[in-house]
Amino acid sequence: MAEPMLVIRDLHVKVADTEILKGLSLSIGKGEVHAIMGPNGSGKSTLVNVLAGKPEYVVTSGAITFEGKNVLPMTVDQRAREGIFLAFQYPVELPGVSAWQFMKTALDSIREQRGEEPMDYRVFDKMWRQKIKDVGIDQELVKRSVNEGFSGGEKKRSEMLQMMVLDPKLALMDETDSGLDIDALKSVADVVNKRRGPEKAVLVVTHYQRLLNYIVPDFVHILIDGRIVRSGGAGLALEVEEKGYDWVREAMATA
């Protein structure tokens, strides 16, 4: 197995006094693509949000390390600057905030963390235009306020654009495929596949095998009731698609 990037050990997480993650362990190595599937409410978004550092998710026990560093004491922005990126299931709107300005500020914060100077704005602008083309997002859309009045699919593309610009080490994608038409889906997959490399890792949360036809994962995990109950290769997703989660539950019961 590749050198580990993200290690989660026996993670317990509470939201509003209810335990959602109940002892979850997962290890993601450099260069790997992992997929997480699971029924509604099983805790998939909770997992990625807790990795990103969302304050209302309280870690009651367990450990998370990223590149050997303890993640838990880090704030959300520290984690982002370390190279963790979450493409949200429901991205929020930022009225009056220009995407260009937002991403320039974000990228410069990340660069500062690495001891680099802010990016020259012309260099940034050139890169920005290139990424817009790569993601295939409408030029006019990007000129508007971040996500304001965007359709569901447009918001997802806007998340992909941000991911491309910030170029994180670990990309967490929460149902980026939901609500996308087939062309958009392909272009999202394209973006992810282009980013594949020995230093990058991806964790995609999805309900559908469809996405995994385009982004072929190295590992698939099934999350039920706050625990990973089964892990396997890309074939596991197909099996789940065919037989449903009850099959996993039954297999667990008889195991």
């Binding site: 550092g53 922005d77 982002a80 929020v92 991403m103 914060s109 963390q113």
Partner: protein
């Protein structure tokens, strides 16, 4: 007895002094108008925030009523320098500028072109001599004081102020009325008064700025009347930058003629209490009015925007958009009442307000309403009292991209104000307001995340 004068008696005593000082020089009708104002104030007094008084439901003016503000009929204007004004107020050489210090016209600080073409700008005191007939025709005819103690008081002390008469289709230089309050050991009251009359087919850009030079307590009781002639367009800005301990109560009355437009942008920051009562009467066929508002309140500041729009003619249009940013324990009140009268067919009214609440202890009371007595109209209103949770989500989202809380808050606030500041057509003023907002940003930090981060166990 003098030491135990009740508050009202103090105003009355100051009024008598003024009466004697101005004896003879003021026209008889003006003296009578003042007396009516004083008589009305004596009957009404200051409003109380009692139940049933919708106009003053959320704003308590007891701090004004209880304070002993003194009036000076001839304040010294010599201590104020132009350089000081340029630091705190918008300023352009090419503008026609009238400066008032503690309510008194300061000619040496002002710049009025000797030949303004069709534009005449002067102090009211001077204009009483030169333009008496026109003034008598309009003064106090739009800003009624029958049921408003503050307007009555302002009228009682009406002796100076700004007079603007614009005619002709040429583009006139912007006019800036700058009302400056100085610090003094004894808290002062001033009664800024403005009368603007535009003839038909005239364009006028007008800025009213109220600014405090120190941080002491004072009270500005202001009244502005604007008559927009048929086919004219007045681009009006009200910039309120009173000092943190100041009280500001102002009334603006605009009467808009046929096919005319009154557009106003109200920017307010600071002041222990700032109340703006804006009434726009759409009197002429096809008349329109626009209000874009932005206010920033911090600490214990209180702001109250009381807006009335009266659609009295067919094809009249109104638009209101008021935004507020609140922090600390500040309080913002917005009442927006639109009346569409019978006969105002094909009228169109839009109304919205939005708030960005950065602190859990800040409070917003917003009350938009529309009274429609006509079938054939279009009217929409939407109020969004911004939830602190909404801002929290937005800040979290930005932080998840690497921005620290400060940078995220700054970007969010900048975005929020941009929508209003972008509507400021007068570029130097827009730049000035941008600067004021920027400078205020450190005060408008987003509260609430630091604590939560600590909650994380281990």
């Amino acid at each position: 007895m003098t030491t135990t004068l009740t508050k009202h008696e103090q105003y009355l005593a100051d009024f008598r002094v003024l009466e004697q000082a101005a004896d003879g020089s003021a026209p008889a009708w003006l003296r009578q108008l003042r007396q009516e104002g004083m008589a009305r104030f004596e009957q009404l007094g200051f409003p109380t925030a009692r139940r049933g008084n919708e106009k003053w439901k959320y704003t308590n003016v007891a701090p004004i009523a209880d304070a002993a503000f003194r009036y000076s009929a001839s304040p010294k204007t010599s201590g104020v320098k132009t350089t000081a004004l340029r630091r705190v107020a918008p300023w352009r050489k090419e503008w026609t500028t009238l400066v008032f210090v503690d309510g008194r016209y300061a000619p040496t600080l002002s710049s009025v072109p000797s030949d303004g073409g069709g534009l005449r700008v002067a102090s009211l005191a001077e204009a009483f001599r030169t333009d008496e007939a026109l003034i008598e025709q309009h003064l106090a005819k739009h800003a009624a004081f029958e049921d408003d103690g503050f307007a009555a008081l302002n009228t009682a002390f009406l002796s100076d102020g700004a007079f603007i008469h614009a005619a002709g289709g040429d583009e006139h230089a912007p006019v800036h009325l700058l009302f400056v309050a100085t610090d003094s050991t004894q808290p002062q009251v001033a009664y800024p008064r403005t009368l603007v009359v535009t003839e038909r087919n005239t364009k006028l850009t007008l800025v009213e700025t109220y600014v405090g030079l120190g941080d002491g307590a004072y009270f500005n009781d202001a009244v502005t009347e604007v008559v927009v002639g048929d086919g004219s367009a007045v681009d009006h800005y009200k910039v309120t930058l009173e000092s943190a301990n100041a009280f500001h109560v102002s009334m603006t009355r605009a009467t808009v003629g046929q096919d005319a437009l009154f557009s106003t942008t109200a920017f307010a920051k600071g002041g222990a209490l700032a109340r703006h009562d804006l009434h726009m009467a759409l009197a002429g066929h096809g008349s329109s009015c626009k209000l874009n508002g932005l206010h920033l309140t911090a600490g214990r500041e209180h702001i109250d925007n009381h807006v009335n729009i009266d659609h009295a003619a067919p094809y009249s249009q109104s638009y209101q958009y008021v935004k507020g940013i609140l922090t600390g324990t500040s309080h913002a009140v917005y009442t927006g009442r639109v009346l569409i009268r019978k006969g105002a067919v094909k009228s169109n009214a839009r109304q919205a307000d939005k708030n960005l609440i950065l602190s859990e202890r800040a409070e917003v009371d917003t009350k938009p309403s529309m009274e429609i007595y006509c079938d054939d109209v279009k009217a929409t209103h939407g109020a969004t009292a911004g939830q602190i949770a909404e801002a929290e989500e937005q800040i979290f989202y930005m932080r998840s991209r690497g921005l620290d809380p400060k940078a995220a808050g700054a970007l969010l606030i900048r975005g929020f104000v941009k929508e209003i500041l972008d509507t400021v057509k007068l570029e130097p003023l827009r730049a000035f307001l941008d600067g004021v907002t920027d400078k205020a940003l450190p005060e408008f930090q987003f509260e609430g995340f630091g604590d939560r981060d600590e909650q994380r166990e281990r």
